[in-house]
Each structure stands twice: as C-alpha cells, then as structure tokens.
Amino acid sequence: MNPIELTLGIMTAVGGFVDISQVVFAALAGSVFGYSLIWVFALSTVGIIVYGEMSGRVAAVAKQPVFNLIRHRLGLKLGFITLAASVLSTLITCAAEIGGLGLLLRYLTGAPYLLMATLSAAALMACIWVLPFKWIERIFGLLGLLMLVFVFALTAIDPPWEKIAAGFLPQVPSGLSSKQLLNFSYFAVAIFSAVMFPYETYFYSSGGIEEEWGPKDLPTNRVTAIVGMALGSLLSIAMLASAAQLFGPAGVGPQIPGSVALQTAIPFGPVGLVLALLGILFAVAGAAIETCMANAYSIAQFFGWIWGRHKKPWEAPRFTIAWVALLLLSLAIVLTGVDPMSLVQYAIVFSILVLPLTYLPLMLLADDKKYMGRYVNGRLAKVLGWLFFVLIVLMAVAALPLFVITSGGQG
C-alpha cells in the first residue's frame, strides 16, 4: 500500500480532531484537570476508528454514503430532522473554522481579523473549485502534519511520562467539589463529542466513494482509519499534556487558539511558534473544507442529487451551489462579529445530539448481511459499535443539561 493513500484518513482526522474546537478544548482540559482527561481522548478515538472504518467499509462494499443510509433507515421524516440538525451543527462548526482561520492569520501577520477571515473563505473556495479531491486531501492532510511540532515540544519540556501514561486509565480526579465534578463531566462529554463529530464520517465515507473504493480497498480503509485517527488523537493528547505541564501550574486557562501556540514557543522560540500556527492553520483549513463539503454531501445525498468533486462543477450543479452557498453562509456568520470560540461551544453540543441518529443507521447497515455480504460487521466491530452507541446516547442525554449548568465549562 502506498503511504500517500493514507492522506484521506489523515486529512479527516487532522481536520476532525485538531479543528479549532479541539485545539482550545484539549489545552483548556489539560490546564484545568491535568492529565486526567487523556483517557476520554483515547476512548473516543477508539469510537471514531470503529465508526470511521465502518463508514468506509459500507462505502466500499454497498457504495452507500452515510446520509443515504440515514434517509433509508430512519425514514423521510426522522431523516430530515437528522439532516437539519446535522447541517446546522456542521454549519456552525464551519463558521467557527473560518473565524479560527481569521484569528490564526492575524497572529501570523497582524492584519485585521475580518479581512483575514474573508480572504480565508475566498482561498478555500478557490481550492475546492480548482483542486481535484486527491490534491485537497494531500495538501491539507500533509501540511496539517506541521502540528507534529506539538509532539516534539512535549518531548522537549520533559513532562512526567508516568503521569501521562496513568492518564490513559479511566478516572475522575479525587477531591473535586460538586461544581468541579460537573465541569469535569462537561469536559468529558464535550471532548467525546468533538472527537466523534459526525461530519468526519460523512466526509470520510463520501471521500471513499469519490475515490471509487471497492472491496479491494478495505485493507487501506482499515489502516487509514486507524493511523489517521490515532495520529489526530496523538496531536490532541500532546497539546493536553503540554498544557497540563506549562499552563496549569502558571494559572493560565487558554481560551483562544493563539494561546496554544505558546506551548511550542517555550521550548523552540519563534520558529516553534510559527510552525505551530501554520500547522493549526492548515489543520483548521482542512476542517473548514471538510465541514463545508460534508454538509453539501449530506444535503445532496439526502435529496438524491448528483454529487461529487470528481465531477466538473457544472455536471453536479445543485451540489456545487450547495457547497458554495454553505461556505458563503459560514462567512456571513463570521462577519456578524460573533466570537468563533462561542460558536464552537454550540457546535459541540448540537453535534452530540445528532450523533445517535448518525451512527445507528450506519450500524444497522454494516450489520446487514444482505447488503454487506461477507464484509458484514465481525464480532469485534459489532460489540464495539453497540458499546459506543450506548455511550453516545448517554452523552447525548447529559450534554445539554451539563452545558447549561456549567455555562459551557466556565461554571
């Protein structure tokens, strides 16, 4: 297998894991709760690998992207509700990413935020319009790897590795007040939701169909899902652990993406800072493309339109209008002056409400021998799939009350 074939998984994961919400959340989680939330990243990474692999397998064997399944399995009415909620949550996420790009370019150049956000949206539109799908995933997947500087920075500050290792065991820190316990629970739910953002599977499975995957590509799908998602998780955990080491003891609770880049400036100076900002920039740009395309894929698949970036824009006109309109709408949200970091909070809560309705139809089809033949879910995929489904439902029930009680983790 050619390693370059992994780029779809890398872009999905780097854009999905290390989007603007995760950058801030991972660092804030490490600063406030030390290493004790690492296990939530690890657990949810297993979850997204299970569902990512499943969605790729269904795309390769049954040639069904996720939103086709949602419409067929949930029916038109519930399917439409899922579509509406998913489009709304992904649109908010896309707006947050574009706002994040504006902020990051401002840190790099000092130019005005709204101007940078507008230029970012224009550049993204040009990329999606001009570049073939393979090149989009290669450019943003590979340049997002600049974020590996966070892993090197963590190594350079010589953190307490035994505490990081212990963080992989499920735990609740002792001695928390009831208020802190609620905050910890909110962070756990929010991290779980942000890692398992549904747009990742919409994009990944649609990408598999764009690349005309078939059963022969199933080993690539499995390796891509595992390596890509594990890489995204590694980056997030590195940011969390650095924050636990550098920010927590200093009393800093980072709230903006610019703060996170300090983690690399401390050991590596201006070079580390610029590499970190560029890495986050490309990862967030990948996430903006991913969210915009995932929304257009979802809408086109639900209504049965011709779709795909492998077609010329005029060969799939409604799909083309959809992604252009969604990108412009996201920019319009940013231009209202709303804080991108507030958007992130709402996107996370909305997303977790959509998760059960996204992953249930996927599970049902991947379990169906009539469609999947000998590629039906094995015992491990079945057990893990249902286990994570129960977890997702529990988190979906808890998300909104926790968000309100803790004022989005600030309480």
Binding site: Q255, L262, S407
Partner: protein
C-alpha cells in the same frame, strides 16, 4: 425536556453577587497570567512581533468584556480587574502576575466558602 431545562436556565441566568461572578474572576485571573506569560516570552525574544501585538490586544479586549460582565463591578475583584485592564500592553510580567495572583486568592476563598 422543558421541565428539566427551565429551572436550569433560571438557575444559570438569575444569580448575582460574588458567586455569580466567580466564573469571570476565574477568567480574568487566567487572562492576567497569560498576559504575563506572553510579556515574559516576548522579553526573551521567543515570540514574533505580530503575535505579541495581537495577543496583547486580544487579552485586553477579553479582560474588558469580563469586567463588563461582572454583577458587582465595585467589589474588590472588580477593582483588581480594572487595574489589570489599565496596565500598559508591555507591562512587566511580575506586575501582571501580582494582579492575577490577587484574583486567584479571591477565587480560592470564594470556592472554599
């Protein structure tokens, strides 16, 4: 659902006083320490000029927003946050840490009540 959410929203939205301000005190403390960290690293030549200017401006704006959200602006913590906002952009890290440290003490005492 509405029965569950309504009391929560009322609880979250209607409280006043130091307890309601605790989240803003905590935010201001964090912003103060972060500003100190930025100025310290800038003095060591570890940051770029555009980054430093943007971060200082952003931190100051957030501190201003936090100050305006207080339900008791004339309190000890309100004065401390205003003093922090009034500091020059390139204030010495030690001075910024001193303000943030006082906010931390107030935060800790409110949390232990």
């Amino acid at each position: 659902m509405r029965r569950v959410l309504l009391p929560l929203l009322l609880l979250a939205g209607c409280s006043k006083g130091p307890d309601a301000d605790l989240q803003y005190i905590s935010q201001a403390r964090s912003l103060g320490f972060e500003w100190a960290m930025v100025n310290e690293l800038a003095a060591q030549g570890k940051l770029t000029g555009a980054y430093v200017d943007t971060m200082r401006q952003s931190l100051r704006e957030q501190l201003g927003t936090t100050a305006s959200a207080l339900t008791q602006p004339q309190s000890q913590y309100g004065n401390e946050i205003r003093a922090l906002v009034a500091e020059p952009a390139n204030a010495p890290a030690a001075e910024l840490r001193s303000h943030a440290g006082k906010l931390k003490q107030i935060e800790d005492s409110l949390e232990s009540d």
